[in-house]
């Protein structure tokens, strides 16, 4: 009881002869306040938006993102971000992000959910069949070994390594020539 009363800021205020605007009015929560990234782990990353390439520090704890901030050591951005970069935490956590594979059958009016494995199998099957149907080995007497009936259009937020694999598989493996990218749009 006494301790409860002694926690009453009014009592504290009178005892310390304060006007109630300072530290005496702070609640326990305020006193214990600290930045939520204090005990987080950090991954060093790069902003996914424009081509400036700002450094980002991605704070995470127990497999969950906590916050994304600029990396002060980046020689380009020196800890700063633009509004898009500053919103990249929301980019990864917002509620409209899709988390499930969705499939739409021919003439269907709705999506149906599908397992990742099954969808991959089906896509592989479609690629396989289309390629078989449309692959051209010779044209006008020269070997061309390509298909023009499967195309690819990639964004420019793909990693170099991803682009490398895409080009290697699609062009080097499948013989697709209709391969394009945001860089040419």
């Amino acid at each position: 009881m006494f301790s409860l009363i002694s926690k009453w800021p009014l009592v504290r205020q009178i005892r310390e002869q304060k006007d109630g605007t300072g530290l005496e009015s702070m609640s326990d929560k305020t006193r214990a306040m600290h930045a939520r990234i204090d005990d987080a782990q950090v991954a060093r990353s790069i902003c996914p938006y424009c081509g400036v390439g700002c450094g980002q520090l991605i704070y995470h704890k127990d497999g969950k993102l906590i916050s994304i901030e600029g990396d002060p050591e980046s020689p380009i951005s020196q800890g700063n971000l633009c509004p898009k970069g500053a919103a990249s935490y929301q980019l990864l956590t917002h509620s409209r992000r899709e988390l499930k594979v969705k499939y739409r059958a021919p003439r269907a009016t709705q999506w149906t959910e599908m397992s990742l494995d099954r969808a991959m199998d089906m896509v592989a099957e479609r690629v396989w069949e289309s390629r078989k149907r449309t692959f051209i080995t010779q044209e006008n007497g020269s070997t061309i070994n390509h298909t023009t009936a499967i195309c690819h259009l990639g964004g420019a937020t793909l990693d170099n390594e991803e682009n490398y694999l895409i080009k290697k598989l699609f062009t080097g493996g499948l013989g697709m020539v209709c391969v394009s990218n945001q860089a040419r749009i």
Partner: protein
């Protein structure tokens, strides 16, 4: 150090309504005046230290910090990035925000909302320049102003302006400035708060304790800058009063407030209040020498507010930025209002007793 806050009245301008200056395109290339003489020559700031390429860049920046130049390029040494112990050492801190380097990107608005988990407050296209935020409020703790004015910005040449002899018929400037809670030396909201929810922290900032605030709304009408507001339903945490916290949680952990940390051109500068004030007055002098004749500090130290922790460099008059020219903390009215109330009370007691005495 001169307290350079002052009010000047601009002469009534008779410039015609100016082109929106956001010219999508030009056709019909008529009305061009040939043989214009180049009258105003841009002169670089000659007093700036000559930069030498090969020098270590930190050494250069350390030297530069002493003059009024901005902090861009200081990297981890910038007061916007480096860790500090201001809370533990009871150092007064502040924001110094200026429009001459602000690019209106609104990163401060977003970084503030991301860190403080402030909800969005509506998707309304206001059409005021590029500003769809409007004003500070319970869910907007940083607000970038987009100000269009029919006068020149420094020696800037916009189109034909600045080159012609007759000043120009079409002067135009677009100014960006990030507004924020001023964290007054004498804070109206702090004095008005009946619950002790609003407190003055170790670093001199004014902080609303969300767990204490019961949403009485008295701080809302007590702020001379119209900053604090009560968050309406159905937003999360509705009912409480909210405003900039100066990222008190970050500061307690030695981190810089989110808006200052993110600012790409370091238009928002965070640091020790005394350092900032010194830097700011130098900056004003520097700008005045380089053509910004109407540059002034907005830091009302002469009014009852007695100065603000988040102060601004502005071009032109404060009214255009929605800033009150002579903000007063409402507590200065206490004496007269209470005198009136007490005299009324005494008079009422006497009148009632008198009425019963004489008419009873």
């Amino acid at each position: 150090m001169s307290r350079s806050w002052k009010v000047r009245r601009s002469p009534a301008t008779s410039f015609p309504v100016v082109c929106r200056a956001v010219l999508l395109f030009l056709i019909g290339l008529s009305n061009r005046r040939p043989n214009l003489v180049c009258r105003r020559i841009y002169t670089p700031n000659s007093h700036l230290p000559a930069h030498r390429m090969a020098e270590d860049f930190r050494a250069v920046t350390a030297r530069r910090a002493k003059c009024g130049e901005t902090m861009i390029g200081e990297g981890t040494q910038s007061t916007n990035q480096r860790r500090h112990n201001y809370v533990q050492e009871n150092v007064e801190v502040g924001f110094f925000t200026g429009p001459t380097v602000c690019i209106g990107c609104k990163a401060c608005e977003v970084a503030c909302k991301e860190w403080n988990e402030v909800p969005d407050d509506g998707f309304t296209w206001i059409g005021n320049s590029y500003d769809n935020t409007g004003r500070l409020g319970a869910s907007t703790w940083r607000h970038v102003l987009f100000l269009e004015q029919d006068c020149q910005k420094g020696n800037q040449i916009t189109g034909l302006m600045g080159l012609s002899d007759a000043q120009s018929e079409d002067p135009f400037r677009w100014i960006f400035l990030s507004d924020v809670c001023k964290h007054c030396e004498e804070a109206g909201c702090l004095e008005a708060c009946p619950t002790g929810s609003i407190v003055r922290t170790e670093v001199g900032s004014v902080f609303v304790q969300n767990d204490v605030c019961n949403g009485c709304g008295y701080c809302v009408v007590s702020c001379p800058f119209g900053v604090i507001d009560r968050r309406p339903q159905p937003l999360p945490d509705a009912g409480g009063a909210f405003k900039c916290t100066f990222c008190y949680d970050r500061q307690k952990s030695g981190l810089v407030p989110a808006c200052a940390k993110v600012c790409p051109t370091e238009s928002i500068v965070f640091g020790r209040l005394d350092d900032l004030r010194a830097r700011a007055s130098q900056r004003v002098e520097q700008l005045k020498q380089s053509g910004y004749e109407d540059a002034q500090l907005y830091d009302p130290q002469e009014t009852s507010v007695r100065g603000i922790h988040a102060f601004f460099l502005i071009l032109g008059e404060p009214e255009a930025y929605g800033l009150p020219p002579k903000p007063q903390v409402p507590t200065i009215y206490l004496k007269s209002a209470w005198t009136s109330a007490l005299l009324t009370s005494i008079a009422a007691l006497i009148a009632v007793l008198g009425a019963f005495l004489f008419f009873g």
